[in-house]
C-alpha cells in the first residue's frame, strides 16, 4: 500500500507528536493536542487518523482490547515524525530567511 506522506497540517502529525511523550488513549490524545497545538480534533477525525497510522505501522495499541485502549509510537512512527519535523524545519527556516531578506530590503528602501 503506498503510504501517504505525513504533512505538518495533518492530524496524523499531531498524534505522532503527542505520542512522542508517551502512550495515550483517545481522550488523552485530544486533550494533549489541544494543549500543545491549540487544535481541537473531532472524534471521527482523530480515530480516522489513528486507523491510518496503525495501518502504516507508525503507532500500535498497547495491551488488551478495551474501550480506553492506549496507543504508542513505533520505531517507524518515530522515524516518520523525525522526517516530518525536518521537512517542517526546512520550511520554517526558509520562511524565516525570506522574511528577514524582505525586512532588510524594506529597511534599505526607506533609508
Amino acid at each position: 500500500m503506498p503510504a501517504t506522506k505525513t504533512r505538518h497540517n495533518d492530524p496524523t502529525l499531531l498524534i505522532l507528536t503527542s505520542l512522542a511523550s508517551g502512550e495515550k488513549h483517545g481522550y488523552a490524545l485530544l486533550q494533549d493536542i489541544e494543549r500543545f497545538a491549540g487544535v481541537t480534533l473531532g472524534p471521527g477525525t482523530l480515530y480516522g487518523a489513528i486507523a491510518r497510522l496503525e495501518d502504516r505501522g507508525l503507532i500500535e495499541p498497547v495491551g488488551e482490547a478495551g474501550r480506553r485502549r492506549p496507543y504508542r509510537l513505533t520505531g517507524a512512527g518515530a522515524t516518520e515524525l523525525e522526517d516530518a519535523l525536518a521537512e517542517l524545519r526546512t520550511i520554517t527556516d526558509e520562511g524565516g530567511r525570506r522574511l528577514a531578506a524582505r525586512s532588510s530590503a524594506l529597511a534599505g528602501g526607506l533609508a
Binding site: 503506498p2 481522550y27 473531532g42 471521527g44 482523530l46 480515530y47 480516522g48 478495551g66 480506553r68
Partner: protein
C-alpha cells in the same frame, strides 16, 4: 466482540444522564472498522461529554465526514475493496435499470408526436447507445467473475447464497409468468387501453414492474453476496476496477441524456409524455418521470461512491 453490541451506541448510559446521540452515527462506519475502533470511539465521545454538555452539530458533521471517508477507504485488502466497489456499482446499475424501464414505458409514443425534434432524437439515441454499452460492460464484468464464482459455489459457497438465489429464481419465474399473462391480456385491449386507459391493466402493469424490479434486485443481491467472498485473479480485478468508473460515467451520461430529452419533449409536446393527453395544458412533470429522474440521480451517486472505491483500490492491487 461486536462493537455495536457491546457499546450499545446511542442508548442512555446508566448514571450518566446523557443520551449520546452522535454515537448512533457510528453505525454509518464500515462493519470491520466498527469492530476494531467502535468501542474506543464510543468511549471517547462519552468522555468528551462526561459533563453532560450536549454534542454539537460540528461533532456530528465530523463523524459523518469521517464515516464517509472510511467507507471510501474500505478495509486493508484492496481486492475486497475493488469487489465491494464493483458490487456497489452493480446495485446502482440495477436501480438505474428500473428507472430506465420507467423512461422506456413513458417514451413509447413521443416520436410520433415530435418526428422532427432533433435535440430530443439525439438525446434519446445517446441514451439507447450508452445503455447498451453499459449493459455490455456489466455483462463482461459478470462473465469474467463466473469461473471464480463457480469455484466458490463448488467449495460450499452455495449455502451462503441459497436463500437469495432461491428467492431470485422464484421471482424470475413470477416475472416470466407475469410477462406471458400481460402480453396475452394486452392483445385483447385497444391501444388506448394498453396506454393506461384500462385501470386494471395499468395496475397489473405496475405490479409486474415492481416484480421485475424485485427480481433484478434479488439477482444483484446474489451477485453482491458472491462478490464478497469470491477470489478473482488480479487481472480480473483490474478489469472490474476499470469497468466500475466506466459504468458510473455511462450512468451519468444517460441521466443527462434523459433530462435533455425530457426537457425538449416537455417544451414542445408535453402531451407526448402522458400517452397523448387530451388536456389543454398537460404538465411536463409526469410523476413517473420525476420518479425515474430521482432514481437515476440516486443511482449515479451510489455508483460514484462505488467507482471511487474501486478506482482507489486499483492502484494497490
Amino acid at each position: 466482540m461486536s462493537a455495536r453490541g457491546s457499546a450499545g451506541y446511542g442508548r442512555r448510559r446508566r448514571g450518566l444522564g446523557f443520551t449520546p446521540g452522535p454515537t448512533t452515527l457510528l453505525a454509518l462506519y464500515p462493519r470491520a472498522w466498527r469492530r476494531r475502533y467502535g468501542d474506543e470511539l464510543d468511549a471517547l465521545i462519552l468522555d468528551m461529554h462526561a459533563d453532560g454538555r450536549p454534542a454539537g452539530a460540528r461533532m456530528r458533521a465530523d463523524l459523518l465526514r469521517s464515516a464517509a471517508r472510511e467507507r471510501l477507504r474500505g478495509g486493508e485488502d484492496p481486492s475486497r475493496r475493488v469487489r465491494g466497489g464493483a458490487s456497489l456499482v452493480l446495485w446502482a446499475w440495477s436501480l438505474f435499470a428500473v428507472a430506465g424501464g420507467i423512461v422506456a414505458k413513458t417514451s413509447e409514443h413521443w416520436q410520433q408526436v415530435l418526428p422532427g425534434a432533433s435535440a430530443a432524437h439525439v438525446a434519446f439515441s445517446v441514451l439507447k447507445v450508452v445503455a447498451f454499452a453499459s449493459a455490455a460492460g456489466i455483462a463482461v464484468g459478470v462473465a469474467l467473475t463466473l469461473p471464480a464464482a463457480w469455484r466458490l459455489l463448488r467449495e460450499q459457497g452455495w449455502r451462503r447464497i441459497r436463500v437469495r438465489a432461491l428467492l431470485a429464481l422464484a421471482l424470475t419465474a413470477g416475472v416470466i409468468a407475469g410477462t406471458v399473462a400481460l402480453a396475452a391480456w394486452a392483445h385483447t385491449l385497444s391501444p388506448a387501453g394498453r396506454d393506461g386507459h384500462d385501470g386494471w391493466y395499468a395496475a397489473a402493469f405496475v405490479a409486474w414492474g415492481g416484480l421485475a424490479a424485485a427480481c433484478l434486485f434479488a439477482w444483484a443481491s446474489v451477485a453482491a453476496r458472491l462478490a464478497a467472498d469470491v477470489r478473482c485473479a488480479r487481472p480480473v480485478l483490474r478489469v472490474h476496477a476499470r469497468l466500475a468508473p466506466a459504468v458510473a460515467v455511462a450512468m451519468a451520461a444517460m441521466t443527462v441524456a434523459t433530462l435533455t430529452w425530457w426537457a425538449v419533449v416537455a417544451a414542445r409536446a408535453p402531451g407526448a409524455l402522458t400517452g397523448g393527453s387530451t388536456l389543454a395544458h398537460p404538465s411536463p412533470l409526469v410523476p413517473a418521470l420525476v420518479l425515474a429522474g430521482s432514481l437515476m440521480v440516486l443511482a449515479c451517486g451510489v455508483a460514484a461512491v462505488g467507482a471511487l472505491r474501486a478506482e482507489r483500490a486499483r492502484a494497490e492491487l
